[in-house]
């Protein structure tokens, strides 16, 4: 059964997909959640709800359910870092019960990179095994252990890829496995180096991967060169070329740097949206949800 989600429909129709990331905060206050969601504005196909990337925050399941109730379509992010297969599958059933139609399967930043660096990790299964589990739940209505799901279960599963993971051969093997395991869409780490991104997606095109999945490159508005340097230093999946950092540094004061950050994104969007195999864009807010409508506006989306 096909899930009746906007995201699934857009993939099927070949519409240009626009998603954005919402980062839940350390709060249980409904109003603060609503106000952040309001800033995201209209024009989005769906909104990703991140799963504790930097440590404890409002649960992505609860926030996703709240969004679904308020008419915003969530992409429920699940990392395999904090939950074993029992909890993951139980939460998938829970998510479907609460009206969630989209799930993004990730391994998640290692817990030593979070604010709870002393916690244990789980990693009972990896992101590809989680994707395969969702596919099994969708297609055969069975859990990993073969137990039958009562009634319907319908959810569209996606995964993350880093276009800049080298060597390219290993990168494509991994991407192909994600698609084979059932990833119907792929959101990527932030793209700043268009030429390298082009090499990656051309390789994916050649392997026939882009025919089977919707590639949605990540776009990250940077507020300052300091932020760019910090992200690049601390998170190895953030590949930010020196030219980008130099451009921000030489732009001027804080306001001009913020505008330059948006201008960089807008230029990247302008170029990559026409690359063969690109099906949309995913705005990685990193908690700066207020930049999303500005960027969409500037990019004419």
């Amino acid at each position: 059964m096909k899930p009746d989600s906007k995201l699934a429909q857009s993939i099927e129709n070949g519409d240009f997909i626009i998603t954005a990331e919402y980062l839940p905060r350390i709060t249980a206050d409904k109003q603060s959640v609503d106000s952040v969601l309001k800033t995201l504005g209209n024009g989005l196909t769906a909104v990703n709800v991140s799963d504790n990337p930097y440590g404890v925050a409002l649960s992505s399941l609860a926030a996703s359910a709240g969004m679904a109730t308020n008419g915003i379509e969530p992409i429920f992010q699940m990392v395999t870092r904090d939950r074993n297969r029992i909890a993951l599958q139980s939460d998938l059933l829970g998510a479907a019960y609460l009206g969630i139609k989209n799930v993004l399967c990730l391994s998640g930043y290692h817990q030593t990179l979070t604010a709870s660096s002393g916690s244990a990790n789980v990693y009972d299964i990896d992101s590809i095994q989680l994707l395969a589990a969702v596919t099994g739940m969708n297609e055969q209505r069975v859990l990993i252990n073969g137990a039958k799901i009562g009634g319907e279960f319908s959810m569209i599963a996606g995964a993350v890829a880093n276009p800049f993971l080298e060597p390219l051969e290993l990168n494509i093997i991994r991407l192909a496995k994600k698609v084979k395991a059932g990833a119907q869409f792929i959101q990527t780490q932030p793209v700043f180096n268009i030429e390298k991104f082009r090499l990656w997606i051309e390789a994916a095109n050649q392997e026939g991967i882009t025919e089977k999945t919707a590639i949605i490159p990540g776009i990250l508005p940077l507020n300052s060169f300091e932020e760019a340097e910090r992200l690049r230093e601390f998170y190895t999946d953030h590949i930010i070329p020196n030219e980008i950092i130099d451009r921000l540094r030489s732009a001027g004061d804080d306001t001009i740097q913020k505008n330059t950050g948006l201008a960089i994104c807008s230029e990247i969007i302008g170029t990559i949206k026409d690359i063969q195999g690109v099906c949309g864009i995913h705005i990685l807010s990193g908690g700066k949800e207020d930049r999303v409508p500005e960027l969409l506006d500037m990019s004419g989306l």
């Binding site: 297969r85 990693y123 299964i125 590809i128 095994q129 993350v160 192909a176 999946d237």
Partner: protein
Amino acid sequence: MIVAQRKIIPEILEKLKYHKKILVLGCGTCVTVCLAGGEREVCIIASALRMASKLHGYSLDIEELTIERQCDNIFIEMAAEATERNDAVLSLGCGAGVQAVAERYPYKPVYAGLDTAFIGILEERGVWTEKCIACGECVLSDYGGICPVARCAKRLLNGPCGGSKEDRCEVSPDRECAWQLIYRRLKDIGQLDRLKNIAVPKSWNKSRDGGYRVIIRDDHRI
């Protein structure tokens, strides 16, 4: 081998504070090789404890002994008299050794002088690295002899995470990405196709998750 490292002297001293006569008991196997709990380290720790206790205004009476294997009752027996004449034992064995000694001498306090760290190898002089977590169901044959369970920080079985950068792990710049090593090794031995298969979820029953493990070999039982 099992790799361990010595606890700091103040921590050991604190644990021993209710005793006067201490047997520092070394082990001649793994912890000797990794320079943590052999005859030489017994001598060093005993001297350090004597000095440290004097600096604190009292004097520990310390006896030194190293047996061949602390995880084996036949050898533990050889420490029986020395254990008897002391108030407590400071074991420089691995976690298995400390427990084996404690089980053999139920009325004698036994303290751990080492932190047991991992199953690993000597990489270069003074550097040991972890290679195995004893998961109970070896997957090395599928990964070119490099273990993703022990050496990938997320124990991923299907390829690297997005944080693998220039051969390093996202956790720390001084750790290698196991998946880059697995990829290169499988390519070198002509088995890269192995990576294209989706590895199914591993059963962790034979690992620590199934409770502590016991092996019974009926063919060796009397």
